[in-house]
Amino acid sequence: MTTLTVEHVARIEGHGTISVDVTSGMVERIQMDIVEPARLFESMIIGRRFDEAPLITSRICGICSPNHTLTSIKAVESALGIEVSPRTRMLRELLVYGSYLQNHATHLYLFAAPDYVGLPSVFPLARTRPDIVARALTLKKLGNDLTTLIGGRAVHPVTAAIGGFTAEPSTTDLADFSERLHAAARDAADTVELFAGFTVPEFETSGDMLGLSSPDTYAIYDGDVCAMDAGWRRPVSEYPEFLSESVVSHSNAKHTTVDGRTFLVGALARVNLSWKRLMPAAQLVAEKAGFSRPSRNTFHNNLCQAIELVDCAQRCAHLCEALIENTGSSAPVSFEIRVGSGRGATEAPRGTLYHGISIDDSGVITAGDVITPTAQNLANLEADMRAFAPTVAGLPETEFVQQIEQLVRAYDPCLSCAVH
């Protein structure tokens, strides 16, 4: 028996090691060891003040911090019975989308694309295809600038508070961003074309697909949880009833299942579940690129991230315009501290993110819970690895490993999120 190990898989966020046992060309065991150190956030927040929860849990992940901040805020607001203004909701949506632009652009171009063109990183591409790198950096910068416009900075937003925002962008800035976002639609569409042009392995995941869904909009800030195969829809507040977490010995991240079955969250699940709510431009570009839905091919997660970029550019431009016309306020609403428990969810770039919190009558946190997208994906990722590895086991070792790494990167895993 030979054991292959890929220590610290590159171009993913965090420390993960793939180990595979092969006996005479047959894959006997394959798993993803998550060695990312635990920082114990769910325990760390106990005893802290309720309004520190968003600040602290934002630091679970510097890559999708807007989602952690807002999901924590939603959990606190649910515990304290706080309703926010429509303007606050619009600004929060924009904050999440800023994170989508920056995350998807970074993952697609810096992390995933080198796999498809046979390079170790994006840096050599700067010499051979400067146009592609320029497009990547333009989209990533637009995402960062949008997050900064709404949240005050690119990583760990400052302005998003319980009940509203402590500062707002000017009308001039919103108008400027509306133009930049419209202009970015072209780059986003080119991204779809680029990824549609890459050959991906024929593969189908056996897991279900979960995500937020809403009858009104492409659900990223709010909605109910829907399961594609199982066909159910349930409120976020019931998540501890349908998600079950378990400790596995080879991973500092817990694994998650739904009714005993592995499942997948993220762009592929969202596009499958909410196809009808995508902006028409995104549907058009996706169809032109030959994407047929629903797709069960995990490798299509990258293409779906690109499709979301098109949706995001157009939708955010419209949101900026609506904010210019809307005269409401986003100033934090007043509220009273009381005993309570609350739960919240948003769609982070990598999938549904859940936060739960309990608060005592003096505003001190007594319990906390966080289930991240990657923690939900890990069991399905391993199931996919087990199903996919035998189909490429005949390849030379380097290529075999590269194919497995490519599958891992298709999930865009974030291991500091997964462990937290």
Binding site: H8, S43, L110, G152
Partner: protein, 247 residues
């Protein structure tokens, strides 16, 4: 020959490594002048045996981290610690309050000993090895990072600001948070962020660490004079500075 640089992540949220890429206009200019020999976040490839500068993000939370840092110190000519976790222990150091195993049990339950092995009380990089350059903040400011890295590449001395944030906040014409009875750590926190948070309506939570020139005793008096609960001041100080010797 360009300087060979490696980037190492300990226990962190990768936010500071992300900030390193968040200077899109200058990314290739800056990174193009060095030989980025190892950066797991951005490139395949293994950690080399020789390099000139090591950039370290994250808090030290395992025995493996300690071993790794000792190796890095023996190899690198210059070490740059980036972010609140690496420079001061940061938020991860909060779990040193109380018993570490208790925190792990709360998260992992009865199987906590099966996972997250080799845990030690979180600490800053400087508690294990000598650090030559610090870039404070949660997250770091990309421009400040570039300045410090250029100093490191040229072997120049690091000159971090010593004074607290209040002056910068006055220049920004912000209303003092204490006027509204809100705990703000600007009066003891190392300046250099331009008072970003206060300017955006939020109090300073001390992510850049306690300033060398901060007068802690006077600050505590001011807090009390403004009718703010001294315990609340200490509690906010715990967020990023629980491991600080300067408080």
């Amino acid at each position: 020959m360009p300087a060979r640089v490696v980037v190492i992540g300990l226990a962190s949220d990768y936010g500071c490594q992300v900030q390193m890429t968040n200077m899109e206009d200058h990314l290739l200019d800056v990174l193009g002048t060095i030989d980025l020999s190892y950066w797991q976040l951005a490139s395949s490839g293994r950690m080399p045996d020789e390099y000139d500068v090591a950039i370290v993000e994250g808090a030290v939370t395992t025995r493996d981290h300690v071993e790794l840092l000792r190796k890095v110190r023996a190899t690198a000519g210059g070490i740059i610690a980036i972010g609140a976790c690496a420079t001061g222990g940061g938020l991860p150091a909060l779990v040193t309050h109380g018993d570490l195993e208790g925190h792990a049990d709360r998260v992992y339950g009865e199987r906590s000993s099966d996972v997250a092995c080799g845990r030690i009380s979180p600490m800053p990089v400087s508690a294990v090895i000598q650090v030559d350059y610090h870039v404070p903040g949660c997250p770091i400011d990309p421009a400040e990072f570039v300045t410090v890295m250029q100093r490191a590449l040229r072997g120049m001395a690091n000159r971090p600001p010593r004074e607290p944030l209040c002056a910068a906040c006055k220049i920004a014409e912000n209303t003092c948070m204490y006027e509204a009875g809100i705990v703000c750590l600007g009066l003891v926190t190392r300046t250099g962020c331009g008072a970003k948070c206060v300017s955006l309506g939020r109090p300073c939570t001390g992510c850049r660490g306690v300033a060398k020139d901060a007068n802690m005793a006077a600050a505590r008096l001011i807090v009390a004079e403004h009718g703010v609960d001294p315990e609340a001041f200490e509690s906010v100080l715990d967020l990023y500075n629980s491991a600080s010797e300067d408080r």
